[in-house]
Symmetry: C2
Subunit: 257 residues, 2 copies
């Protein structure tokens, strides 16, 4: 009987709701220990951006926002809340495209994405007022801190992917992408490898961490955000770690910006 | 002890090389039966585009190709083999972008992708001459035929995803995408669902089959193409099946074409 290569993904069950200031690494370690999963050497832990943002208190109270003239004008064009547009612009370098109900920007960290990742859904904060939730200040730094803290608490060599869902040019629907990465290669450069027939591969750089994020997204669910942490077991790589910023195509090389 | 949600991916081991005319469904059923995996109700079987194209004999003998004036000119601009460019143009509706070593087209089935998916790497055909390999004629039809044949042979209710790797606008690296789908929803529309706080989700369509393809791609490997078939176990969905053509954004809605 031949044994197959195997990759397993486990959503941590009954993960508690995350609030500003929570020690997310500790919560993950406790939740993994209380389940039948645990944390093992080589595990990759995928964490939904929203719970990282919540723990880092990236909330903005919309009542405190005074929209600029530019935000008012964009809000009219997109039919969005002008205060939300103001928060989005504050997180962005520039607007890439806008139209009715669409606002695609270049986030200050370089991600080309809708609404700069600013979100009103699934954002509760003590149940009062209207809040928006921004992306973590520096997702690669957040991933590194979570990776280090989880490793220290468990004594295990792990990697962390903070994932989000992005829309795409040309294709319908969002897919999981890696916003922050620690301990694994965000991209894997296969150029120069040989194929099965001994030909040299010309142009294969793999968006490895984005594929990890997409896989994790399959088990996280979306609407109910019940499983924000996924343990991925059995993943192998040989390339050195690279942060998620490596996944951002430099504007100068980008034919579609 | 809480039991976690679980998704498992198994690469079928020692999958034989595929040649034109091979019965790929039969090969998958035999290979799964000879491994410790088997095929079970609810399994999703991800199959690399290349082996589907090979089984369907989508080879083109480059010696038979006479490049047009347009192919010659594009070949010069992109530094590609003019015969290969001629094959690419034959598979395309139009060129979206071209520059040195880059030729992004709209494939006749609507995919915006590099080189219309025409590939010279990992393509062996009796070891003589130079061949290019095109995408399956109709990937959704191929997926439906494979799904039906595997279901009949095993008596199991399964789904099939034919996956490929596409580059993206804005981001570095390729990721697995679904080229053909049968038996599962390529996209899942969450609009109208409630989030944890009872808010209605505004704009969440999930590229479900693309996430499945990306996950499968993690275990397929790339350069050596040793594991072209991956069995995915534990995936759940409630939306009705939709072919992979649903993942193609209509040109009229596309802000980046």
């Amino acid at each position: 009987m031949l044994r197959a290569g195997r990759l397993e993904l486990f959503a941590l069950p009954a993960f508690p709701l995350v609030s500003a200031g929570d020690d997310l690494a500790a919560m993950i370690v406790v939740s993994a220990a209380e389940s039948d999963i645990g944390i093992a050497d080589g595990d990759v832990i995928a964490i939904a951006q929203k719970v990282v943002s919540k723990a880092e208190d990236r909330f903005v109270d919309l009542a405190s926002i005074e929209p600029s003239a530019r935000a008012l004008s964009l809000a009219q064009a997109t039919h969005k809340d002008p205060r939300l547009v103001e928060v989005i612009l504050g997180e962005s370098r520039r607007v890439v495209r806008s139209k009715l109900e669409v606002l695609i920007v270049e986030h200050r960290r370089g991600y080309v994405m809708a609404n700069a990742g600013v979100d009103q859904s699934n954002v509760g904060r003590s149940g009062e007022g209207e809040y928006a939730l921004r992306l973590p200040e520096d997702p690669d730094a957040s991933a590194a801190a979570l990776c280090s803290s989880i490793s220290k608490r468990t004594g295990k060599r792990i990697a962390v992917v903070i994932n989000d869902s992005f829309g795409r040019a040309w294709r319908v629907g969002t897919v999981g992408v890696a916003l922050g990465v620690a301990g694994l290669p965000s991209i894997v450069d296969k150029r120069g490898s040989l194929d099965l027939y001994g030909r040299t591969l010309q142009a294969t750089i793999i968006g490895f961490a984005d594929e990890v994020a997409a896989a994790a997204s399959l088990v996280m669910g979306q609407a109910d955000e019940a499983w924000p942490v996924v343990v991925i077991r059995g993943l192998e790589w040989s390339a050195p770690p690279l942060p998620a910023s490596s996944l951002i195509r430099p504007a100068v090389d980008d034919l579609f910006r």
